[in-house]
Symmetry: C2
Subunit: 156 residues, 2 copies
């Protein structure tokens, strides 16, 4: 079920649905230069094979009251599996947290949070991050402006 590589039309379907996740099959077919029926089959195949993981509404962080994006890097004071895992899970459960990555290098975790200003940030640190045990050191970077944000580009 995952044998065939993507062809040009598959990639066009992915690009179109990435641009507009609610595109109907008829419009999509027209956009990619196919008749509706095979277009529909390809789209279902791309979903079934996992190229398309899902569809989502993209919401506005500012309008929802968390205009600041802050990057927090964290080192833990122990590095056994259990501590690393527990910390990551605790972070992932917090609503302010947008992203959690376990990383190589100087820090163990890389976390991105959305907060309402320095106040919101302080609150997050004091009431959420610093209450999770095991943090040795953390370093925060406020973002000033986002120039790009989004999913992977479908290769040519």
């Amino acid at each position: 079920m995952e044998i065939r590589p993507l062809d040009d039309i598959d990639r066009r379907i992915l690009r179109s649905l990435q641009r507009d996740g609610r595109l109907g099959n008829n419009h999509l077919a027209e956009e990619v230069g196919l008749s509706p029926s095979p277009c529909w089959q390809r789209t279902r195949r791309l979903e079934a094979e996992g190229y398309i993981k899902g569809y989502t509404a993209v919401l506005d962080q500012e309008k929802l009251g968390a205009p600041e994006t802050v990057i927090i890097e964290v080192t833990l004071n122990r590095h056994d599996d259990a501590v690393l895992e527990t910390f990551g899970r605790a972070m992932a459960e917090l609503p302010e947290v947008l992203e959690v990555y376990l990383t190589t290098g100087e820090y163990d975790y890389y976390i991105k949070v959305a907060v309402d200003g320095t106040r919101g940030y302080e609150e997050f640190l004091r009431h959420k991050l610093y209450r999770v045990p095991g943090i040795q050191h953390s370093r925060s970077t406020f973002t000033l402006r986002c120039l790009k944000q989004g999913g992977i580009s479908v290769p040519a």
Copy 2:
């Protein structure tokens, strides 16, 4: 046109559409406990007022041949508006680049890229990043595992 604050039902609509961007109005209405007609009006309002910025298909980075996510922080050797701006735009145009943020602190830019292993990463550095003029210093962090990724949580 942007006077009214969100109520509980609006927030449920946002959460449902974030979870499934292709939910039809009837299912959505049922999910949020409303009849289809007002549900449809609220959804259009949330779009028109910008709470919903759009809809997108979420694609699989691995399946599309770029399984590694690398975080690159960059300092530029000059900090006038033109240099900062030009660098950010050049980064945003590269297909490997998923995110570009201008930041406070030690580095000027924070960039997230998707590449195919250390090979793909080296190629990105040599053929793309290092060909952009003005870089004083950069620091790369490979991510090992992603524990969370997604948009903002709709507040309670």
